[in-house]
Symmetry: C2
Subunit: 344 residues, 2 copies
Amino acid sequence: MKRITIRDVSERAGVSTAAVSYVLNGREGKVSQETASKVRRAVEELNYIPDFSARSLAGTRSKLIGVVIPQTEDQKQLLLQNPFYSELVCGIEARLRQSGYHMILSGVDKGEGYLDTSMQRNLDGAIIMGIYQESFYDDLKRVKVPIVLIDSYVNDSYFQTVSIDDEAGGYMATELLVDNGHTNIALVTGLIRKDGAVEKRFLGYKRALKEAGLFYHPDYVFEHSVSYEYGQEAAAAIAAGHPEITAVFASSDLVALGVLRGLSDAGKRVPEDVSVGGFDDIPVARMCNPPLTTVRQNIVARGAMAADRLLKAIEEGEESVADDPSVARLELAIRQTVQRLTPN
Amino acid sequence: MKRITIRDVSERAGVSTAAVSYVLNGREGKVSQETASKVRRAVEELNYIPDFSARSLAGTRSKLIGVVIPQTEDQKQLLLQNPFYSELVCGIEARLRQSGYHMILSGVDKGEGYLDTSMQRNLDGAIIMGIYQESFYDDLKRVKVPIVLIDSYVNDSYFQTVSIDDEAGGYMATELLVDNGHTNIALVTGLIRKDGAVEKRFLGYKRALKEAGLFYHPDYVFEHSVSYEYGQEAAAAIAAGHPEITAVFASSDLVALGVLRGLSDAGKRVPEDVSVGGFDDIPVARMCNPPLTTVRQNIVARGAMAADRLLKAIEEGEESVADDPSVARLELAIRQTVQRLTPN
DNA sequence: ACAAATGGTTAAAACGTTTAACTTAAAATA
DNA sequence: TATTTTAAGTTAAACGTTTTAACCATTTGT
């Protein structure tokens, strides 16, 4: 069966294709009420569906958004396994769909290849998460397209960001542990990059310690990668080498889960022997055993915010959106892995 | 800066655009070695990137694949929160990217809207998971495009499927429990749909019981929805109403996690008091506490298989692919939630 | 009464590809 | 040598939109 085109519609309605195009794109004032309704009727009757390739080619919006998330080093697979990213994607997709956009979800080899995609597909914009290659961002600016960054700190006002107050979050978590009487508090965290989210959480941790009049022990911070495995490893090291440590702040829930396992393997009970705090509040946090006390960021909402910002920039122009980054709220999700320190 | 087009390339190479197109698309024989290399040089020098919209419009492949996953009833959000789906998507994306395709990931309101997307974007194919609306599939057949189904049982050979032997999986899990001496084994499961994956697992459960000479108690099957919450609920009911039950087979890991929590809340220990077996082996299965014994399906690999089948159908024609569905292997992942029944 | 402005409509030129049909020259066949 | 086949390229039409510029009626302002 042949495709129904705008020409078919125009013939049926007895007008030109230009007129049809105008009403389809809501160019008010260009056509009369009467022709508008004739056209709408014809569209309805023929069940006309516009071809976005043609639209895009003709120089208007493609209504396609690129969404980039990191991928595993080895397998080149999307890091969707990390619930943090899947939640973000959920929030983004829902909002984009609602506005008639589609999302091309794709991993990139540290930046390589994304630009090609952007040009090939005439992307209207992009949401990019967790890429740290500086050079990538230089390239990115050349394609004149709005871009929103999530968790990819780059000091360049060209890009919009939707962030959270990571410093405050790190502070909140640590403060909770301090308030529960803990004084020897470890930090288990991914690589601390200059200006990165992880660094800010680390800064919040240090500030909470300082304000409580506690010493900051550099050897209480275990820094390597954000993964379950590393949490497990670090916990083993803590149990073996630092019996005085009674609390752990893991700067991401995934790591916290590993810590839970590592402690348990070392014969430590949580929270009786060691308290553990996490960060993110991914869905598993409430499903694991015991349920994880953590700093909640509404990840889905954050994705939606990113999409909103991007759409606004696309549809109303870059200048329309506020210069200040959107900052999502944080709160503590108190569950069962933090306990008051009982002197024994 | 203006876009580099095929015309620019042709001028630089001193040939026609047709010639360029031929070498770009590997039309061997249409063009000599010499011109081919002239063209390739020009492409290189100008850093030419083809416009896929134009390609698509000109009637060739769009190199775009639709990937459809279910969404939450209320929020209209992708069900990516379910790790089962995110894993599949990882497998699919990696393979598609590798072959130069892109993926439009999208949720649909029980089928509504997908067809429009397919036409608007000239999708080359689709991978569809977990949609049960019969009517949806009728519509789907009208768009003449290869489609691979995952976990959406529809008895129609028009569609290709990549499945697992759910019956055998159900059998394996139950058999394990039986072999460990359990005789009162509950099944906690999502809605049992005719010909669905869940029904097959249920059938496997019954067969294992029967072959072991055990009674099948209809009131030992708890059937409602595949969610953490339901697992919790069912476990509470089991603990309260059926103290004789010493083992639970949950037909999905997400449910199993809920069961773990429900049992623990009811004061039952796992595996000392009750053994629990799951299905899927999502990543959390090994992270939870205690680590879940479950039936492993390599979800990522299954996604990749689906992508492979689809690409083959697209590039070599429908008839090229085998009629029989691909069936992925299953195996037991023995961890710590199943224990030999100790008579007390 | 005439020029100017306005509102509605349209024809036709893009947009960047692919490809069917055609040309030409060289090679193969008779 | 005269003809047919093959190889290598080219031309130009198509694909389905948007949009510019032109056109025609009216209405408005002098």
